[in-house]
């Protein structure tokens, strides 16, 4: 690992961009393998290349292996990675657990976990949802009982992204009474290879298994694996973790600009674009895809000007998740019955559009359903009154 940060500290943003672009061109990860195992290996190798070149973790501190870039350069970083079409880090740890540990972890925890997480030597999965605790997450029932220097954890987690390939689970567990709800929840990091852990792939409606179920039976977790204080986990999990996601919003927007361009190319190739009804429908979609980028850019501009992300950031997820569903459904509808084929020689582009149609059902369910997001916008942004039938937050 090079300890040289000179490339990050060049005086000029344009020079920084050029250096990054050169690195990405010279070390690019190559073609995306088709099989899942090859793809994971490809993601991990690429993440290690970035890390070893000091090009990983744009917002992370340097003593954790990150780059600690000012926000403007985080945006440039996102733009260039989107442009180069390189893979994301595997798992959900880099985006969610990492920033939480940076903010609330001890020095020992940061040193123990963060470089390995950022380099993808370890893949982390999230253990929040349970079969009986979805939108009502504070009702979760996976318990952690204190026994000496360990917690003993028993319960079941579900919808853990990539759990079957992950090494570590960052989980919310119950340390207080069931009635204490969010005031009795603790944030634990546990080893998925430990005795008592069973991970089963969860076959979803796409036919694939992007998520796993995690069964925990008397799993011993050292107390030193607890982030923050006991019963403080809910607050940690809900804290805003800085603006890295805002900088990354451009990645999703540029991704969908590209996907939209590919859909237009397909519509032209098949002659659908010549139909005025379809060209109008596609234009409407193109307008909304462009606005996705404008919302992201507004958020970035607000952060740069005021330090606060502004109103566009609070609506982006609802806007984007709905739009990505519509985009894929429009594509499937445009293909007619060919849109139904998800394989075989007659499938259009190997069934990517119908695959997206199915996959994006999860966009308005995972990480807070669209309904919960609407409640949040209504109550926390617009100031509408809480439902008196709901338990206090």
């Amino acid at each position: 690992m090079s300890s040289d940060y000179a490339h990050l500290d060049v005086g000029d943003d344009a020079e920084f961009r050029a250096l990054l672009r050169t690195f990405l061109t010279e070390h690019g990860p190559g073609k995306r393998p088709k099989d899942p195992a090859g793809r994971l290996d490809w993601q991990r190798r690429w993440q290690a290349v970035l890390f070893d070149g000091r090009w990983a973790g744009p917002s992370w501190p340097r003593d954790c292996g990150g780059m600690d870039l000012p926000f403007t350069r985080q945006v440039i970083y996102s733009e260039e990675l989107a442009r180069a079409r390189v893979p994301n880090p595997p798992g959900t740890g880099v985006g969610i657990a990492g920033p939480t540990i940076i903010k609330y972890g001890t020095d020992e925890q940061r040193a123990r976990w963060l470089p390995a997480l950022l380099r993808a030597d370890q893949v982390w999965a999230q253990g929040y949802s349970e079969p009986e605790a979805g939108s009502d997450l504070p009702s979760l029932r996976t318990t952690a009982r204190r026994d000496g220097d360990d917690y003993v954890v028993t319960g079941q987690k579900v919808w853990s992204t990539q759990a079957q390939i992950a090494d570590v689970l960052f989980a919310l567990v119950r340390t207080g009474t069931q009635e204490s709800r969010q005031n009795g929840i603790t944030y634990l990091v546990l080893d998925l290879h430990a005795p008592g852990v069973t991970v089963r792939p969860l076959r979803d409606l796409t036919g694939g298994a992007a998520f796993g179920e995690v069964f925990l039976d008397e799993v011993r977790v050292p107390v030193t694996n607890r982030i923050g204080a006991e019963n403080e986990g809910w607050r940690l999990a809900r804290t805003s973790l800085g603006h890295e996601r805002a900088a990354g919003a451009m990645i999703q927007a540029s991704f969908y600009q590209r996907v939209f361009g590919e859909l237009v190319a397909l519509a032209r190739e098949r002659g659908t674009a010549a139909d005025p009804v379809w060209s109008r429908r596609l234009a409407d979609l193109g307008i909304r895809v462009k606005i996705m980028a404008l919302n992201a850019a507004s958020t970035i501009a607000a952060i740069e000007a005021t330090g606060e992300p502004g109103p566009a950031s609070s609506v982006s997820r609802l806007y984007n998740s709905t739009l990505e569903q519509e985009l894929h459904e429009i594509a499937v509808d445009m293909l007619g019955p060919y849109g139904l084929l998800d394989g075989g020689p007659d499938a259009v582009q190997r069934g990517r559009w119908v695959g997206g149609f199915l996959r994006t059902r999860a966009s308005t369910i995972g990480a807070g359903t669209a309904e919960i997001q609407r409640n949040t916008i209504a109550e926390q942004v617009l100031g509408l009154p809480r439902d008196p039938a709901m338990p206090p937050r």
Binding site: S279, G286, I287, S298, E371, A378, E379, P385
Partner: protein
Amino acid sequence: MPLIATPEQEELRRSLRRFLQQVSGREQVRALLTDDAGYDPAVWHRMATELGLQGLALPEQFGGSGATFAELGVVFEEFGRALVCAPFLSSVVLTGHVLLAVDDPPAQARWLPGIADGTLLATLAVPAGAGHDRAAPLPQATASAGDWRLDGTVMFVPDAQIAQLLLIAARTPAGTSVFAVRAGATGLDRTALPNIDLTRRVSRVDLHATPAELIGPQGGADAALQRALQLATVALAAEQVGGAQACLDMAVGYACTREQFGRPIGSFQAIKHQCADLQVQVVSARSAATWACGIASGEQDPAQLPLAAALAGAYCADAFVTAAKANVQIHGGIGFTWEHDAHLYLKRAKSGQLLLGTPDQHRDTAARLMGIAHEQ
């Protein structure tokens, strides 16, 4: 890309909002609904003399203050919020920018200073949706002994009843040209149309051998007209953002106070979710309009103006109509009364959506500009 307001623009917004609270409050707007002129000349005069609004985005050489379209966007957003009744879009944006876009320095010198200081009310007669697929035929211009005469009809001309000067797009043997017609000209008939939106007046203009003066060269005026329409679409989009925000604010305010079943109706998810969806659309509409105003200011990427206008025109018009309809719905019975202002916003939303090119026309334009549909 200037996607958020500068401190100076925020200051403009604050002072304009204070001003409009005084001069375009509920009572004043209500009074103008039944007023023949449909605007208050004294307020118009104060806008020009105290705030310099009419000249804001016009060049200094013609008496303007040379600010940009981004500032004008702030003005229009506040106009939309306060339901301002004034011939601003017609006189300042449409006519002012056609004059700037045609190559006729004497005409510019003669009329732009009056437009910029508010002493001249002008309008542009160009068929609704001009530049789109369903353009109505333009009036015919014929020359006899060096004088031009116009014949034909133009529908939906904004503020034509009060305009002292009408610029009219007409056909000549050399192509589309712009002509000036004085309010008192012979053979000019202006008929106010019973448009549901009483805050925005439109007329039918009939021309019977009406004497007219050619502005700019004969033929080749399509680009200037298109540009003026695009800029007006961008200004209108900003106005629609302000209107949509006002509707959302009204709906949220009412939902917090109106109680049914022993609790505020805003505590029910059925209301919350509608309001949250409106917030998504209003915020996104503001991103679109702010971007389009930045493009219209010419400071970056001016070649994107046609796409920016089509994008903001389609999205913001629909967002305002959605917000205005939801506002009526959330108010329930009271929202259906004449006394409540909800219907004024609904009508203004609907007229803005249809008068200057419909969202579908804007989407068809976007389809061509995005390379989806071929140029026809």
